[in-house]
């Protein structure tokens, strides 16, 4: 028992030292600003002190800044009194380079501002630059499997049909629809894909491949075929009665048998393909260009998509969160660094489960479909990762 104490104390000492350094970090600008306030006040009258923050600082940092200021004011000869006639309003703000501590001193109708600039901490390289912009494209009651822009219109695939929506005054209106001729029952957790090139489209449902033409009233023909496009000219063999895939078909037609998976993301922008599979075993599996298995990890959801960003040749992986269809979901961007996935930026939240997540047809974007847990409606989103904000 006695021997355990140092193990407790050592972390406490470190925490204490860290807190001291942290608070001292705020004491410096607070001290300098208090001196400036004192120089303006000239008298030793008490002031009414208020605090606000308009900068993106955490509540704990804001509280620490306020504490630091309240500690430093007496040292500068400034007392505080909530009923005082002179007010000092401290606001934590920011400019391009620095945090800015702004104190506005009101004395009757007169007001004067003093400021202290304090360098923002350096952000680690690339951190915070990745932002997933979520743009709601379409919302409706029935399930959306996939969607794709067709000129100024939007083509939408669901379990029974393919519909063409046109944008009218900012709202999407269904203009045309065609039934998908399916003569058998489809899996409960249905997946579907839609690709558009010019007026021609291809639609995929498990075990079914359809071709159509938007210029000909969406005319559609389908055939039984289990090949499912994965991007980069690679395909998978879909299981017509399941929601997963087996076998991987390389662009040259060579088939590779791999454990069943829900989704796959190809790193096709680097010349050599690397693949990440969301296995039905709940783990992610990485394969190299020679299709040799590499790293594997858990904790992600069942859907993964690769997005080549618009700047540089940086490819990010988007993945849903682990969980089930009863909970709100999120999509997180990851980078692979030193053999391990690392979150890039903050996850983007959805009001329900993400039922589809696919790499988009346009560079720098993916598409997602989510079911709102409250309304039960499905919403299609374009997820874009811009170079900069």
């Amino acid at each position: 028992m006695v021997g355990a104490r140092p193990r407790i104390f050592i972390p406490l000492i470190f925490v204490s030292l860290a807190l001291t350094a942290w608070c001292q970090g705020f004491d410096e600008p607070a001290h300098a600003l208090a001196q400036k306030i004192a120089a303006v006040l000239k008298t030793r009258e008490p002031v009414m002190f208020t605090f606000a923050s308009v900068a993106p600082v955490s509540p704990s940092d804001a509280a620490a800044a306020q504490d630091a200021m309240e500690r430093q004011l007496p040292g500068a000869g400034i007392g505080t009194n909530p009923q005082a006639g002179i007010s000092v309003a401290l606001t934590i703000s920011e400019n391009l380079r620095d945090w800015v501590w702004v104190a506005e001193i009101h004395r009757g109708d007169a007001r004067e501002g003093v400021m202290e600039e304090w360098p923002k901490p350096e952000e680690p390289a690339n951190a915070g630059l990745v932002v997933i912009e979520k743009l709601r494209m379409l919302e409706r009651d029935s399930r959306i499997l996939d969607f794709a822009p067709l000129g100024r219109d939007l083509l939408v695939l669901d379990a029974e049909s393919i519909s063409l929506y046109e944008n009218s005054s900012g709202a999407w209106q269904r203009k045309l629809g065609v039934r998908v001729p399916v003569a058998r029952s489809l899996p409960r957790d249905l997946r579907g894909r839609l690709f558009v090139q010019g007026d021609v489209y291809q639609a995929y449902l498990p075990g079914l491949t359809c071709n159509g033409n938007a210029a000909r009233g969406l005319g559609i023909t389908c055939r039984d075929e289990a090949l499912w496009p994965l991007g980069s000219n690679a395909r998978a063999v879909s299981m017509p009665t399941r929601n997963s895939f087996e076998q991987f078909v390389l662009p040259d037609g060579l088939q590779k048998r791999i454990p069943a998976f829900f989704s796959a993301a190809g790193f096709s922008d680097h010349g050599h393909a690397a693949w990440l599979f969301a296995g039905t075993d709940g783990r992610m599996h990485l394969y190299n260009a020679a299709f040799e298995p590499g790293a594997s990890w858990g904790g992600w959801g069942s859907d993964v998509a690769a997005v080549e960003t618009e700047c540089g040749s940086r490819t990010l992986l988007l993945a849903t969160a682990a969980g089930d269809s009863t909970a709100p979901d999120s999509v997180q961007a990851y980078e692979l660094k030193e053999g391990a996935p690392r979150p890039a930026g903050d996850p983007v939240a959805f009001p329900g489960p993400v039922t589809a997540l696919w790499s988009g047809s346009e560079r720098g974007a993916a598409v997602a479909v989510s079911r709102d847990l409250k309304s039960g409606r499905y919403a299609a989103f374009r997820l874009a990762i811009p170079c900069s904000r």
Partner: protein, 448 residues
């Protein structure tokens, strides 16, 4: 243990494979990037150009990074004395103007002759000797005013930037060719073809038809454009939309009338409806992201106070005219909404396109990241009888308050710029406030 090592090696090989592969996916050289602009530029003087275009052709001694920190450009290093009055800049060796002549200290001094007390100290060193402390001198030198250029025999400007002016049709077209001798390396694209005076609608059509790669999108169209899955990019809010009460008009010489109008404006509603939530409402000249204190300038509507002030004014004084730019699709609805707001306060505003009016709706693009310089320029617009003093935040705040205290200028919004990009534009990584950095951009080959 062996299993672990194998897995690690497998993962590491994948990463190295990715890196090797990345090295093979190098940017492509060649192609012409077509840019369309609404405005027409008649002169090649960088002082007449939008901030985003200047770095294409002209370098300064320093440039600013994404945090606004000075970084080497034509100067590779600099130092100052303890008082911040004496600054030494050391020039980059082997930098050349577009005509092949070397960038010497003498040439730079000749270019910066408007700057006080700058002299060459040897061939590669410049010395600035200021009368007052100038801690922000590098930031000031990074502005368009600090662009280094010389003039040829025909008076044409010659820069040192990544592109040189190959063809110049005033107000219509500028063809900028990649400068092979650029110190930062030749740009990837062969040409940047700038078409000027293009209507926004024509720009959108050209982007859709693949005739343009980079176009301007009016802020009112930004959301609809994004919904059409057009690739867009938005700057930080960097253009001030404001009301300017002209001098010399008897009616608006009454500061109380100007104050009544200013207090009547419902910026929040205008931003939500007409600007579709874009931009920032402001009561300040400097954007908050630059000064850090813009929140000290109130921008909320105070209709009761506006009515109170207006009610004390003589009736004839309550009729004014407001001019807006007909070519700007946003100006008219904003002007009309301001007129509507003012009417609720008892002031009648008649809106009309053009420039002749007692009040104008004006736009001021941010032309520098030096707050003192921005305020000094605005001081010139407002005929202020002084310049900002020392570049301390307190002095700038006091000066900005002084500029705005008589309501001659009523800041309304800081607006971002929105651009549409073609899908073949790669490495698009501009600075948040607008420097396009087109020297890093490359073009994907068009598929037939």
């Amino acid at each position: 243990m062996r299993r672990f090592a194998w897995r690690f090696l497998a993962a590491a090989s994948l990463i190295s494979l990715a890196w090797r592969a990345a090295a093979e996916s190098r940017p492509h050289y060649g192609g012409t990037l077509v840019v369309e602009l609404h405005d027409s530029l008649t002169l090649t003087d960088p002082g007449e150009w939008p901030l985003r275009l200047v770095p294409l052709v002209y370098d300064g001694l320093v440039r600013l990074d994404d945090r606004g920190e000075p970084q080497p450009a034509l100067a590779i290093s600099w130092q100052h004395d303890a008082s911040n009055k004496r600054w030494e800049f050391h020039l980059r060796p082997h930098a050349m103007f577009h005509d092949g002549s070397p960038v010497t200290a003498a040439a730079v001094v000749a270019c910066l002759k408007d700057w006080t007390n700058v002299a060459a100290a040897g061939d590669g060193t410049l010395v600035f000797q200021a009368e007052t402390p100038a801690p922000d001198l590098p930031v000031r030198l990074a502005s368009a005013r600090g662009a280094i250029l010389m003039r040829g025999a025909d008076g044409a400007t010659i820069g040192t930037g990544p592109f040189r002016i190959t063809e110049w049709q005033p107000g219509k077209r500028a063809l900028l060719g990649a400068y092979e001798g650029y110190w930062g390396g030749r740009p990837f694209v062969d040409f940047v073809d700038v078409h000027m005076g293009r209507a926004y609608r024509d720009q959108a059509i050209d982007l859709e038809l693949g005739k343009a790669d980079l176009v301007e999108i009016p802020i009112g169209d930004a959301r609809r454009t994004a919904q059409q899955a057009v690739r867009t990019w938005t700057t930080v809010p960097s253009e001030l939309l404001a009301l300017l009460f002209e001098r010399g008009h008897g009616v608006t010489e009454d500061a109380h009338l100007r104050e009544a109008v200013a207090l009547s404006i419902d910026r929040s509603a205008i931003r939500n409806v007409l600007l579709q939530g874009q931009g920032d409402s402001t009561g300040a000249i400097l954007p908050g992201w630059l000064s850090g204190y813009a929140f000290l300038f109130p921008s909320a509507r105070d209709l009761d106070r506006a009515r109170q002030i207006a009610s004390a004014l003589p009736k004839p004084a309550l009729r004014i005219s407001l001019a807006y730019d007909l070519a700007d699709s946003l100006s008219r609805p904003v002007a009309e909404r301001i007129a509507l707001n003012a009417r609720e306060a008892g002031v009648t505003i008649q809106t009309a396109p053009g420039a002749q009016a007692t009040v104008r709706l004006v736009k001021y693009p941010l032309r520098s990241l030096d707050p003192a310089q921005v305020l000094a320029e605005m001081g010139g617009v407002l005929h202020a009888d002084s310049q900002p003093g020392a570049a301390t935040p307190e002095a700038l705040l006091a000066y900005e308050r002084k500029l705005l205290e008589d309501f001659r200028l009523v800041p309304l919004f800081y607006l971002p710029e929105v651009y549409g990009l073609s899908s073949r534009v790669r490495n698009w990584d501009p600075q948040p406030w607008g420097d396009w950095r087109l020297d890093d951009v490359w073009l994907e080959a068009r598929t037939p």
